[in-house]
């Protein structure tokens, strides 16, 4: 792919953005007086800000570029990652789970596990989560350095060090509040940077109807039915009928239930944003507010991919770059379209939006890491009774360490790409059963700490076992699976991932129930505020309907159903 040349105005836009980002950190520095200010924003942030931050923390560049790449690979079915794999879980966490996270006054998700279950369950979750956030942040940094080197010819070292220093600056100074404020800024920048791209691409191809017509040609040229790229559900009766290689059950149970609820309902990176809200009602509204723009995001990030593959396979005017082996390099969809359609000026805005998405992903991971490290590891196991100012200092040191470890992980990825693949695989095994633990913890008062811990460990082992005994079609045994032998072959890697999650959830759920029934539960008085049946429902009758989580969630779910039907 040819390099993109930036004009002075492009650099000026990038420079202005970076000044604002650091400026927000400086503006908030004087408000960081206690550890609660630094880690929890003093629980003082209005819901429109926490809502957009909840969305933005997940809007890293892997999301923006990855979803465009998936749009090119799979077409409109990529919207399942939003309309099936995100919105229902966001509504569920807002309506049903946030009262326990926020109401229990837990300072983190692992701390909720401590309050509800026991120390060993918290420790398992805290240590794996802290390690995972650092590596995720490092992978984000590595991807950004690689992209800027490929696209602009910038030095890999300079790119990642500059980004790391800027993220370090604004989190060190302003803590979680600074990260949240910058995530909202990044949200507006990402939308304003990519909207003109969608408009120009659609205009170039001749509008939506022309795009659909061209994608029908694309589908038939690849051996699928004409509507395979433009129908989200019609070809999911059998995995072989759609480009994803997944059937409806794996899609609904694997992505729509286990993986999406596991991420949106238990991942501290996103839940932390809601826990910073100024009241219980604001915390419950946070994921619901995030769900509204989230359901529109396919138009912003998937549509460019669909435009790119339609143009590439039906005679232009642009063509996706290819890898050395001749296959399409789908990951370069967004950068290629930015370079193709944007003149200097908006090109600077588009690239700044791309940088913003990398930085928001990294900042989200680092703020989650410094909180879990300080509260759930350092305060719990290393130094229990220090002063609040000591924990504030430790939070800042954890930020420095988190950024340093992210940079180290980025360099590790340059040397040993397979190690990073392996680590991501291990973290996927750990995450897969998590939702079963939380579901039983919040909605079944009989579940016990021994049950939760043994369920988590068994679910993780089940995920590893399933992966070790299965392979996607055409793959070689190794990092893709099959390292214990071959019991089942899946039509695609995505189908294998979904079924791995289903098995992990199932084993964790069954074993947690079984062990809980064999062990002594905690007395009910200790579980008030932690379990559904022992917690009074939050009062919100005096609020207008659009501020009440129940009615607002119902409207959002109705809109998602309509979207699924429209693009059926």
């Amino acid at each position: 792919m040819p390099r993109i040349a930036l004009a002075p105005i492009d650099y000026l836009i990038l420079f202005i953005y970076l000044c604002f980002v650091v400026g927000i950190g400086f503006a908030l520095k004087r408000h960081m007086k206690t550890s609660s200010d630094f880690f929890l924003s003093g629980r003082s942030i209005p819901s429109w800000i926490t809502g957009l931050a909840f969305l933005s923390a997940n809007l890293g560049a892997q999301e923006v570029m990855g979803m465009a790449a998936s749009g090119a690979k799979y077409g409109i079915a990529t919207s399942h990652f939003y309309w099936v794999g995100a919105i229902p879980a966001m509504v569920f966490v807002g309506v049903f789970m946030m009262p326990f996270y926020y109401g229990s006054r837990a300072r983190s998700v692992p701390e909720y596990l401590k309050l509800r279950f026991d120390e060993k369950t918290r420790g398992f979750n805290a240590v794996t989560f802290a390690a995972m956030t650092v590596f995720s942040s490092g992978i984000s940094l590595y991807a950004m350095g690689l992209l800027l080197e490929t696209l602009l010819g910038w030095s890999f070292d300079a790119s990642i060090l500059l980004s790391a220093i800027i993220v370090l600056c604004y989190i060190f100074l302003g803590g979680l509040t600074s990260a949240i404020y910058n995530e909202v800024l990044q949200f507006f920048l990402i939308v304003s940077g990519f909207l003109p791209l969608v408009y120009l691409g659609l205009r170039d191809i001749g509008g939506w109807n022309q795009l659909v017509a061209r994608l029908q040609t694309t589908a038939t040229s690849q051996g699928y039915a004409a509507g395979a790229y433009t129908s989200s559900w019609r070809y999911f009766s059998d995995a072989s009928l759609n480009p994803m290689g997944v059937d409806w059950f794996a899609m609904v149970a694997g992505l729509g239930f286990v993986l999406s609820f596991g991420y949106w309902c238990t991942d501290f990176l996103v839940v932390q944003r809601a826990m910073a809200a100024k009241s219980m009602a604001a915390a419950r509204r946070t994921p619901l507010i995030a769900a509204i723009p989230k359901m529109m995001f396919p138009a912003l990030v998937i549509l460019p991919g669909m435009l790119a593959i339609a143009m590439t396979t039906t005679g232009g005017p642009l063509e996706l770059p290819r890898k050395p082996d001749g296959s399409f390099n789908y990951d370069m969809t967004i950068p290629m379209m930015l370079g193709h359609y944007f003149p200097p000026g908006v090109l600077g805005l588009g690239l700044t939006a791309l940088m913003a998405s990398f930085m928001s992903g990294m900042a989200g991971n680092v703020t989650a890491f410094n909180t879990v490290w300080t509260y759930d590891i350092y305060q719990s196991y290393i130094r229990r009774d220090a002063s609040d100012s000591h924990y504030l200092w430790m939070g800042r040191m954890a930020t420095v360490f988190g950024i340093g470890a992210s940079v180290a992980a980025a360099y590790l990825a340059t040397r040993f790409n397979n190690i990073m693949d392996f680590l991501q695989l291990v973290f996927a095994f750990v995450n897969a059963p998590l939702f079963a633990t939380f579901l039983l913890g919040m909605f079944w008062k009989r579940s016990t700490g021994h049950g939760a811990f043994s369920g988590l460990v068994a679910g993780t082992l089940a995920a590893a076992l399933h992966h070790g005994m299965s392979l996607p079609k055409g793959a070689v045994a190794g990092i893709k699976g099959g390292w214990l032998g071959l019991a089942v072959t899946y039509p695609s890697e995505m189908a294998q991932n979904f079924w791995t999650a289903i098995w992990a959830f199932g084993v964790c759920f069954v074993l947690t129930v079984a062990v809980s029934l064999l062990t002594v539960p905690r007395v009910e008085s200790e579980l008030a505020g932690l379990v559904y049946s022992l917690t009074p429902a939050p009062k919100d009758e005096n609020l207008p309907w659009w501020e009440r989580p129940g009615p607002l969630g119902a409207v959002i779910l109705l809109l998602v159903v309509i979207l699924n039907i429209l693009f059926w």
Binding site: I9, L12, I13, I16, Y17, F20, G23, I24, A27, L28, H31, S41, G42, S44, I45, I49, T177, Y181, V184, L185, F188, L189, S192, P196, L200, R203, D204, H340, Y341, F342, P343, P344, G345, V346, L349
Partner: protein, 67 residues
């Protein structure tokens, strides 16, 4: 937390919008062959500038009603 976020959002988008408008007015029209002949800097810059002004005005009005 003592900082109305609408102000930095409005200022950032307003400044970027203003820069795009100015650049759109002074740049060579041949630059816009890439963007299908549309002066995307002028059009999108105007939208961002307007959005930025509205955000700052909303923040100032909210500050006025609080004091």
């Amino acid at each position: 937390m003592g900082l109305d976020l609408r102000i930095p959002i409005g200022l950032l988008l307003g400044i970027i919008g203003f820069l795009l408008v100015v650049f759109g007015l002074v740049s060579d029209p041949s630059l816009y062959q890439r963007s299908l002949g549309i002066n995307i800097n002028l059009i999108w810059g105007s939208v961002l500038l307007l959005f930025g002004i509205v955000m700052v005005m909303l923040a100032r009005r909210a500050a006025g009603s609080r004091s």
